[in-house]
């Protein structure tokens, strides 16, 4: 039987506010335990939550960039459960009327475009951290993270492969950073995904029983966890078994998922509107103000790169992978009108390759767009060959000669010979010295021609323009 995998994703994006969602405590990462937990975060008696405007603004921005409906009023609810890192005994979240409802995100997988529908995105507070190392048989609680604002972004079960799930997660990750609502630091847990996975016979429109895999904090784990889970479910079904609805954990060391809790012992969260918080009203005026602060969105830029710069779908998608890369590309190409493809190739090739190799972000790139454009200008006007340009690039990367392109070309003797006279002289010498190959070429051996080109290039120490050498050789041989 042919199986179809059905995936929905819930993402917790930590919002990049200075202070917590309901208190004035700092959200800075890595502070000493409990130094950023005040009376509200500790749930001391008599305290009241006061909603952070910055958190609401970020939620609205996400909604605007995915074409969602912004609910007004929007309601906060209590999600009740007992755990020591949640001192109130409930998490303030949203149930009915979340800030963001609907919307969609477009993904591309194997040249196919697909729209993933969003169900909702709601605001909530994070819990603290429990440390289960041995404190005389007790657990240690750090409440610095308690009350950190999160936006939980939930999709419809629209994805059909781990590749689509990863494409979605990457797209969302890029978007939240693009609009500046989340730093996207997955290692610090600022962006974590839960995947709901089920399988069904291909062609069926009934959803299978799903399992939720919690807390996947890298794209690779997301992919591997889904692949493992789908295989596990298919094996059970093919053996005539049934899937039990449950929450599972992914163990990266063993590359497998395992049961965390089954539906029978799942908590009943007894959601109800939080009487400590009034309905949140979001005016059209406020929404419009925020709309004005949004940067040009990745999808819009992507289309513009295709229509205005004539770039391929692929190039446009890679360049709009992050706002910083897109900006770098645009700043480079602004210096070199009508050479977008050359700029794109270098940003995606040399620059990205080198950044990856050294594991640094484009914001820390030692070569800025102006310098890169200066180099590309020299390729374009024939001063250096593409090959020599890579040597110049290396020198610039290492900060040689103040990254002055022309000075580097001079110092390293990389200038391409395009003087017809000089090349002609070398061509004549090579022809005279290789009578046999000339003969072979005239007898129809194409190989002999390539060998002659190679010898001329060698004679120029690779500094001749290959196209020019080609033409000249052809003219001489065919005349």
């Amino acid at each position: 039987m042919q199986w179809e995998i059905v995936i929905g994703i819930e993402t917790h994006a930590q919002l990049s506010t200075q202070s917590k969602i309901f208190s004035g405590s700092s959200t800075a990462y890595g502070a000493q335990p409990n130094t950023q937990a005040n009376a509200v975060d500790l749930a001391l008696p008599g305290v009241l939550p006061v909603l952070n405007k910055g958190a609401v603004e970020r939620a609205i921005k996400l909604g605007l960039s995915v074409g969602a409906k912004i609910n007004s009023p929007s309601i906060f609810a209590r999600k009740n459960y007992f755990y020591p890192d949640l001192p109130k005994g409930y998490q303030i979240s949203q149930f009915e009327l979340p800030v963001v409802e609907g919307g969609h995100i477009t993904i591309q997988v194997n040249d196919t475009e697909k729209s993933v529908r969003l169900t909702r995105a709601h605001l909530e507070e994070d819990a603290g951290k429990s440390l289960h190392e041995d404190f005389h048989g007790m657990s240690g609680i750090d409440l610095n993270r308690a009350g950190t604002p999160l936006l939980e972004i939930v999709t419809e079960p629209d994805m059909r492969s781990s590749a689509e799930a990863v494409a979605y997660a990457k797209k969302l990750h890029s978007l939240v950073r693009w609009i500046g609502i989340c730093d996207g630091n997955m290692q610090e847990g600022s962006f974590r995904c839960d995947a709901n996975v089920s399988v069904r016979a291909k062609g069926s429109d009934i959803l299978g029983t799903r399992c939720e895999i919690k807390n996947l904090n890298s794209f690779r784990f997301l992919e591997k966890a889904i692949d493992f889970e789908a295989r596990r479910q298919i094996e059970i079904l093919e053996d005539g078994g049934t899937i039990r609805q449950e929450t599972r954990l992914y163990d990266a060391n063993k590359d497998e998922t395992r049961t965390m809790r089954s539906k029978e012992d799942a908590n009943d969260y007894r959601y109800f509107p939080d009487p400590d918080l009034l309905p949140l009203e979001i005016s059209d005026n406020w929404i419009n103000q925020l709309k004005d602060t949004l940067p040009e969105l990745p999808e819009a830029r992507r289309s513009r790169y295709i229509s205005d710069f004539g770039l391929s779908d692929y190039d446009a998608a890679v360049l709009t992978g992050s706002r910083e890369i897109a900006d770098f590309f645009e700043e480079t190409s602004a210096q070199l009108p009508n050479q977008a493809k050359l700029c794109a190739n270098w940003v995606m090739g040399e620059i990205s390759g080198r950044l990856n190799k050294e594991a640094i972000e484009i914001t820390a790139c030692p070569i800025n767009p102006v310098h890169l454009a200066a180099l590309l200008t020299r390729i374009n006007d024939g001063t250096v060959s593409g090959k020599a340009a890579k040597t110049v690039f290396e020198c610039m990367w290492n900060g040689e000669l103040e990254q002055n392109v022309d000075a580097i070309i001079d110092a390293k003797g990389l200038k391409q010979i395009s003087d017809d006279g000089a090349i002609e002289k070398l061509v004549d010498e090579v022809l005279a010295a290789n009578a046999q190959q000339v003969e072979d070429y005239r007898n129809g051996k194409q190989k002999a021609f390539n060998s002659l080109v190679g010898q001329v290039m060698k004679a120029t120490k690779g500094k001749a323009n290959p196209a020019q050498v080609n033409t000249m050789l052809k003219n001489k041989l065919d005349s």
Binding site: S25, N34, K53, P84, S130, S139, L143, P279
Partner: protein, 95 residues
């Protein structure tokens, strides 16, 4: 809706409350009364009424996103039963 003794036990379990058999029966009859009351209220047609999420007809006030709190760990932990390395210690719980 009819409530069973098992429902009462499940609710008690969620609320981390210990109840004995006698209390289960007493609670069951009290809760059943409450459910009867709810049932009576549900007979009213509320389809045209917007659900009330708060008793006061005012909107939530917002605060600016600023850090206004300083480190109060020492005074907060002075009333905690047990602390170590800046952490609050609690009986071990692993779910």
């Amino acid at each position: 809706m009819t409530l069973s003794a098992n429902d009462v036990k499940a609710i008690a379990d969620l609320a981390y409350i210990e109840v004995n058999e006698g209390e289960v029966q007493a609670t069951l009859s009290q809760l059943t009364d409450i459910f009867d009351l709810i049932e009576t209220m549900q007979a009213v047609d509320t389809s045209s009424v917007e659900p009330m999420s708060h008793a006061q007809d005012v909107a939530q006030r917002l605060r600016e996103d600023e850090v206004t709190e300083s480190d109060q760990r020492e005074s907060n932990q002075s009333v905690a039963p047990q602390v170590e390395a800046g952490l609050y210690l609690v009986p071990k719980v692993i779910e």
